[in-house]
Amino acid sequence: MNFQHTDDRRMLADSLGRFISEQYGFEIRDKIAKSARGYSQELWQQFAELGVIGALFGEQQGGFGGQGFDIAVVFEALGRGLVVEPFLGSAVLAGGAIAAAGNEAQQALLAGIINGSVIATFAHGEPDSRYELSQVACRAKRTSTGWVLDGAKAVVPHGEQAELLVVSARTSGAVGDEAGISLFIVPAGAPGVTRRGYPNIDGGRAAEVSLGGVAVGAEALLGDEGEALAVIEKVVGTGILALCAESLGAMDAAKEATLEYLRTRKQFGVPIGSFQALQHRMADMLLEVEQARSAVINAAAAMDGGRVVRERALSAAKFTIGRVGTLVAEECIQLHGGIGMTWELPLAHYAKRLVMIDHQLGDEDHHLERYIEFGLAA
């Protein structure tokens, strides 16, 4: 039993943390987050050079990490810095899918993703799918030369900027069936792909992607035809872990900012942190954050386990993070009072990110139900 990270991971976390605090201060972040592009290509390159993207992939893929705790360490630091660059969409989800299911030619795409020169994204969610992985209505029909894709994909992270789309489409069966879903690698410039980008409320951008008779070659199929759900579940699972860790980093930052505020802000002549009612709420918040930290550790540790163990730990973590993240966001704003509502205070942006994480890859209710479906077990 050992709750220390390995030296390599600690060094990575330290250098990433240092880079963020030096190069990714709030004003820079704010500018990037609301920019037309939604991320900084320059900083993205620097993150790549630091090895941060590589840490999300295994050695086989040309990375030097890729395990649960690598994901956790990186995303916790990204959460602390409110980083909006496309780590989740390009590296964890799209890159993860290619790494998990790609043939040799497809795996070759990872080099560009890892060195930051290529932005990919994962176009899986659809306007009516909510958080259900098997609610795929987008269709791919086989043609003599390959496939033709038709359908709509929703809230695709950095979908406007990505050059490569990993798209899920149904090659057989009906919406909601577990079988019959396939993945395709689609160049963003392919005829019939239209993208409508927009800002997210918590910074960065996403896009609605529409596929109208998009013809791709036979080599676009990623993994086995009709068998993609297992890959999607695995990749989304890694994404869930990443979001949980990111949330934890953001919670820590929000909590510390609030503590500092309680210590220094005076009202009625005394620091407001001397009011017992607020003290007890902070104590409860601390406790919740520590429980959330444990949930992230449990999930990271379960990534190598069997499906049921892994998915149950992931749903437990995402449920916990969803609940606690929203609580921390709301309490930190409330404890700050009016100033906590203002754009100029970093806290407000932490709060927005914390709440929005509950809307990515499944919210509290979704994951509580999923946890139960995988079977209650002490």
């Binding site: 996403a206 709301e330 409330q334 509502m341 754009w343 927005k352 929005m356 809307h359 209710d365």
Partner: protein, 398 residues
């Protein structure tokens, strides 16, 4: 014990409904329903419509142009307006300054300012909060020094809602630095076009410009703009803070918002069936609906007590706390209902005239922004923590 309104009150309700059906412009109610932003002209338009019916200043006595309503009528009016998605009345002139002037103003002040509130000649904003004071309103640092027939005002106010539209501001200012905290404060009316007044926007976390900072640098204010006695302004301030809080629970707003939530949850799907049929989501809606039904009766009980000669006092703190919790919970569920579409935020979609295809469901555009904006409900107007202190002291005697 009778929870029904009297036949007279029900007749009044019908009258209000007929008025709203007839006079509330659909353009305005559509904007309110969809959570879009109202411009200055929108608000002025609605004020003028109400004023032409004599219903703008529902808290004022008839002599000054109020309709002379009882508490139950005010409740019914506010309620029906909310259900009809009418714009809110901008409260600073009508509901705040008006009653203060009527109670503490001199004859000249009443004659000059009150009609101008009604006809929209003046747009008032509130100069209470200061940076660093927060819930401690008596910690006023803005000074007004008497110089002949003027005061010279220096200092800063903050959280000034809709101050960007205002031409007048009522302020708490310190006229005696020697006196103890709450003594030495005066209540002063300041023309915002005076030299030395500067308004700077505060952008809130949802990207909105709703509140402002107001800076005063050697601003000269005629002494006739002092309301009440010099150094007795805290009396006006307290009166304003406790006056007419029977609508503080916002039950009508919550009912309208809950209706909108249920409509959306009927349209949106989860696992192939309407979200409202999902047991977990239905339970969340049911919980807040039950809480709201209880709140409505709690609110009416307070109104009945007031009508019976009781004083709302600290009871309004209960209404404030639970009323804002309910409103926040409904907007939280609304955001939750949107699923992944809570994240996109196209600010222009909340402006009039936006006619592009919405991102995701049509109702998603304002969901998260409203949720975040509504965090203010438990902070402004006396934070819910301050309200708990009041309950503890006034009702519980702790």
């Amino acid at each position: 014990m009778d929870l029904n309104f009297t036949p007279e009150e029900e007749a009044f309700r019908s009258e209000v409904r007929a008025f709203l059906a007839d006079k509330l412009p659909k353009r305005l109610s559509d904007k309110v329903r969809a959570g879009k932003h109202l411009g200055k002209a929108d608000m002025e338009e609605w004020h003028a419509i109400l004023n032409s019916r004599g219903w703008l200043a529902s808290h004022w006595p008839g002599q000054w142009g109020g309709p002379g309503w009882k508490a139950a009528q005010k409740f019914i009016f506010d309620h029906e307006c909310a259900l009809a998605h009418a714009p809110r009345i901008v409260p600073f002139g009508v509901n705040m300054l008006g009653p203060v002037l009527i109670k503490y103003g001199n004859e000249a002040q009443k004659r000059h300012w009150l009609p101008r509130i009604l006809d929209g000649s003046d747009w008032w904003c509130q100069g209470y909060s200061e940076p660093g004071a927060g819930s401690d309103l008596a910690a006023v640092k803005t000074t007004a020094v008497r110089a002949g027939d003027h005061y010279v005002v220096n200092g800063q106010k903050t959280w000034t809602t809709l101050g960007q539209h205002a031409n007048m501001i009522f302020c708490l200012v310190r006229t005696n630095k020697e006196a103890k905290k709450q003594e030495g404060i005066s209540f002063l009316l300041v023309d915002m076009n005076s030299p030395g007044v500067e308004v700077r926007p505060i952008i809130t976390l949802d990207g909105e410009h709703e509140v402002n900072e107001v800076f005063f640098t050697d601003v000269r204010v005629p002494v006739e703009n002092l309301v009440g006695e010099e150094n007795k302004g805290w009396t006006c301030a307290k009166f304003l803070l406790t006056y007419e809080r029977t609508n503080i629970a916002g039950v009508g707003f919550s009912i309208a918002a809950l209706e909108r939530l249920k409509q959306v949850a009927t349209k949106l799907q989860r696992r192939g069936r309407p979200l409202i049929e999902d047991p977990a989501f239905a339970a969340r809606i049911a919980r807040v609906e039950i809480e709201l039904k209880n709140m409505k009766t709690t609110n009416l009980r307070v109104i009945a007590a007031v009508a019976g000669g009781g004083v709302p006092g600290a009871e309004s703190s209960m209404l404030k706390i639970r009323g804002t919790q309910i409103r926040q919970e409904i907007s939280s569920l609304y955001r939750r209902a949107m699923g992944p579409y809570a994240q996109p935020f196209v600010a222009e979609a909340l402006q009039e005239g936006f006619d592009a295809q919405p991102i995701g469901p049509a109702d998603a555009a304002s969901a998260s922004a409203q949720y975040f904006n509504n965090r203010k409900l438990s902070i402004f107007g006396g934070s819910n923590e301050v309200q708990r202190n009041i309950i503890s002291k006034m009702i519980l005697g702790l």
